[in-house]
């Protein structure tokens, strides 16, 4: 078969979308069939005649950007929304869901992106909740539930300790609890909503093994994601959604990442970051022997040293929780260093305030954009001047100059392609990608020397990731020193000129990009050593 990578209209990709005449009649051999699913919200057609077929024993990936209608479709299948139009068939029989209970009774289980677990309760309590075995009309039979859970956990290879409290579990284990919750309710169809968004690369790998095992055991799995690599790695079939419609279906054996990305976004997307070789200048950020404590007074950053030069992207790879968050907080003045020094352009800024650092040319794209990046209830315009509102021309003395704030906001919103373009709307009403663009607009519209970007594309879709990456590279080319902290190995590899690996608060290796490979970094990230 002829293949032309990078183009959309391949012979093996069906982009015809919904065609009523081509739809097979309800068939009992299918675990689930959805026909013409349509959901209209006031002013928005979130799902527009979507068809989905799901066979027992397959992993069916549902791919689409944020806002493509994936979550709406899953909420329809799980009974959380009622469809405006459309019909669901379970094993060939039409069903109507008035709530999650009906979906559960039909054998559908869902693992939400944000776990529906109750942290202070035990694994057993979480799993049995809503279907508790009881004696004497209401007294919990924890032993019976725990036995059942152990049995399920053996059967499906989902290892958990039924007596542990959920709040003490790692994210990967919490996800196994969620999956067990579905099987405890006798689910045959499992919907996984962005299951890898919260996982480390290793945990994601483990999950894929579990998914394949479940499929082999006859379960039908819907795997919702916007990560192309994962889809190709684990799915049997792919349905791509765009703007509420089926944009096409694809076979993971033959499809390429580029094709899927184009299908998702509706235009050709650059998956590789397009950048020239770096031309590093003098050292902008110099960190020596830095020691930082976390909130529990444990050492989080343990004698770390690094140098970032002007015009260079220094990427820090590492599994979340190895001191990255604390390092970023110290560099941005949000946390105190216990010892060590930080120099910015040769000037000691170890104990400088955030305000001081900003005046010295620091830009910060924080990891948690809701908590630290934006004031969600403020207008977009006010968010664009959060760190300069007290300076001319945005203030005259103690009086705000609304006109100049609005002018500035409109200018940068246009430049960074933020949508909607109305700067008076509250930041909370923007999508994740657009919120991140507002932050970039604020941070990069000043004359800066150092950009500290933490997980800059977490939770963003392909189109937004491309945009954010372009901006970061553009800053580098302007001579800004960039410190990139990311748990996404691909991101670190794509953007960095120099890569450092952080493990237990130490940089265990620093190497030029050319010497780094996924495997090498992966090994170092988990505390392994690389044979030289």
């Amino acid at each position: 078969m002829e293949t032309r990578p990078g183009t959309t209209h391949e012979s093996h990709i069906d982009v015809s979308g919904f065609r009523p005449d081509s739809v097979p009649a309800p068939d009992p051999a299918y675990a689930l069939q959805a026909r013409g699913m349509t959901k209209r919200f006031p002013g928005i057609l979130a799902n527009d005649h979507i068809d989905l077929d799901l066979k027992p024993g397959e992993v069916h990936a549902l791919l689409g950007e944020n806002g493509a209608g994936k979550s709406t479709l899953m909420n329809l299948l799980y009974g959380l929304y009622k469809p405006t139009e459309g019909q669901i068939y379970i094993a060939g029989k039409p069903v109507t869901f008035n709530g999650p209970n009906d979906a559960i009774a039909s054998g559908i289980g869902m693992v939400h992106q944000h776990f529906m677990l109750i942290p202070p309760l035990t694994v057993t309590e979480n799993i049995m909740l809503g279907g508790e075995p009881t004696v004497l009309g209401g007294i919990l039979d924890r032993e019976a539930a725990a036995r059942h859970i152990r049995q399920l956990s053996d059967e499906y290879g989902l290892e958990v300790d039924p007596t542990a409290k959920v709040q003490d579990l790692a994210v990967g284990s919490q996800q196994r609890v969620e999956i067990l919750k579905a099987f405890y309710r006798k689910a045959d169809i499992l919907i996984l909503d962005e299951p890898t968004a919260v996982l480390t690369p290793q945990e994601a790998k483990d999950l894929f093994v579990i998914m394949r095992k479940l499929a082999a055991g006859g379960k039908a799995i819907v795997f919702i994601t916007h990560k192309l690599k994962e889809v190709l790695a684990v799915a049997d079939r792919i349905t791509v959604l765009r703007l509420g419609k089926v944009a096409g279906t694809a076979d993971p054996k033959t499809a390429t990442e580029a094709e899927l990305a184009s299908l998702m976004v509706g235009r050709t997307v650059l998956l590789q970051v397009d950048k020239k070789p770096a031309t590093p200048g003098k050292v902008t950020l110099q960190v020596d022997n830095l020691v930082v404590l976390d909130n529990r007074k444990h050492t989080a950053v343990d004698g770390l040293s690094l140098e970032v030069r002007a015009g260079e992207i220094f990427g820090i790879a590492g599994i979340d929780g190895n001191g990255q968050a604390e390092l970023v907080e110290v560099l941005t003045g949000l946390r105190k260093a216990s010892s060590g020094t930080i120099k910015l352009d040769g000037k000691d800024v170890t104990h400088a305030t955030t305000n001081n650092l900003i005046d010295n040319g620091l830009a910060h794209v924080p990891e948690d954009r809701h908590k630290y990046g934006l004031v969600l209830t403020y207008a977009v315009s006010d968010n664009t001047v959060l760190n300069t509102y007290d300076e001319a021309p945005f203030a005259r003395g103690i009086i705000r100059n609304d006109k100049s704030i609005l002018d500035f906001a409109r200018k940068v919103v246009a430049r960074f392609d933020v949508r909607p373009t109305r700067v008076e709307v509250q930041a909370r009403n923007l999508s994740g990608g657009n919120q991140q663009k507002v932050i970039l607009a604020r941070e990069l519209s000043r004359d800066i020397r150092l950009l500290v970007a933490a997980q800059p594309t977490r939770g963003l879709d392909v189109g937004s990731i491309e945009f954010v990456h372009k901006q970061i590279v553009a800053e580098r080319d302007e001579g800004v020193a960039v410190l990139l902290v990311s748990a996404e190995l691909d991101e670190v590899l794509a953007l960095s000129d120099t890569i450092g690996v952080i493990y237990k608060g130490k940089l265990v290796a620093v190497m030029p990009r050319a010497e780094a490979t996924r495997d090498k970094l992966g090994l170092l990230m988990t505390g392994g050593t690389v044979p030289t």
Partner: protein, 308 residues
């Protein structure tokens, strides 16, 4: 050895018996608040529910001549008053602090108004209740008096144990805690969040009302505003007790003890301004709370109205 002309062991026994007595309305108020808050609804209305219960017990008791009917009245009317809190805060999603304040103001206004209208000229006293004594234990020398108490004291103790069992060992308790921590998670497994909250707020209100009724049992007559902040101290006990029945009971005993101490010091005739001694329970409450807050974690969803 004697103190204030009384043998020390008698003094201690009296102090403990008073503690148990004084802690009873606090315990009931705190347990009532616990039902409510564990399901995710803040309850600063305990004070108002207690005064409602007190007035209802008074009216029911004097009308029927039986304080038992009075206690029933307290349960029903405080439950109804709490239902108002439920409607406002659960169905209409009014800020729960505001809703609680509304209930407090309304309860004090209504009980004061009706008392002035119908009882201020002629205030009958309600019937008295029998003392229930625990066999054998009541015969212990000196300390036997601890085991001769009014029935509401025993009901409160029983409720502490029952609530503890229900909260941690029954389906009701598991669901209540789930709804108070993460209502959406409970919803996704088919639990009716609104129903659980309504039930708990109403039952909790009724129990707090019983705490108010105990005051009538003690003094046989009603006076407007007679709860004098006990509902808030009960709330403090709930928080200090980390939202657990045993903890709340322990805290209620501690606050009760300071109150007993205050009463006994005054009876002793110590030469010290009574007003300052009278502040003792409140001062201890403030100190304890200032020390406890931060280490005590409330149910995660408390105060947040649930929206489907």
């Amino acid at each position: 050895m004697t103190l204030c002309g009384v043998p020390i062991e008698v003094l201690i026994a009296t102090l403990l018996a008073t503690t148990l007595r004084v802690a009873t309305p606090l315990t009931l108020g705190a347990i009532g608040g616990l039902f409510c808050e564990r399901s995710g609804v803040v309850n600063i209305a305990i004070e108002g529910l207690m005064i409602t219960g007190a007035f209802a017990a008074y009216v029911g008791g004097t009308w029927s001549g039986s304080i038992w009917i009075g206690l029933l009245f307290a349960l029903v009317f405080a439950g109804l008053m709490s239902a108002l809190h439920a409607v406002l805060s659960i169905t209409f999603r009014v800020d729960q602090i505001i809703s609680g304040t509304v209930v407090n103001i309304l309860a004090f206004g209504l009980t004061g108004f009706f008392y002035d209208q119908y009882f201020s000229q002629h205030a009958p006293t309600s019937g008295s209740v029998p003392i229930i004594s625990i066999p054998l234990l009541q015969d212990i020398p000196v300390f036997g008096r601890l085991f001769q108490q009014q029935p509401v004291v025993w009901i409160a103790l029983l409720l502490v144990a029952v609530t503890h069992f229900m909260l941690f060992f029954t389906r009701w308790g598991l669901r209540t805690r789930a709804v108070g921590e993460h209502p959406r998670a409970a919803d996704t497994v088919g639990i009716n969040v609104f129903r659980v909250r309504y039930m708990n707020v109403i039952i909790g209100g009724a129990l707090a009302g019983l705490g108010g009724a105990y005051l009538i049992v003690e003094v046989s007559t009603f006076s407007p505003g007679m709860t004098i902040g006990r509902g808030f101290i009960a709330l403090a006990a709930l928080i200090f007790g980390k939202w657990t029945p045993l903890g709340a009971w322990g805290a209620a005993l501690l606050f009760g003890f300071t109150q007993a101490l205050q009463i006994n010091i005054q009876q002793c005739g110590v030469d010290f301004p009574a007003q300052i001694i009278g502040t003792l329970p409140y001062v201890v409450t403030i100190i304890v709370l200032a020390g406890a807050v931060g280490r005590s974690t409330p149910p995660a969803a408390v105060g947040v109205p649930y929206e489907k």
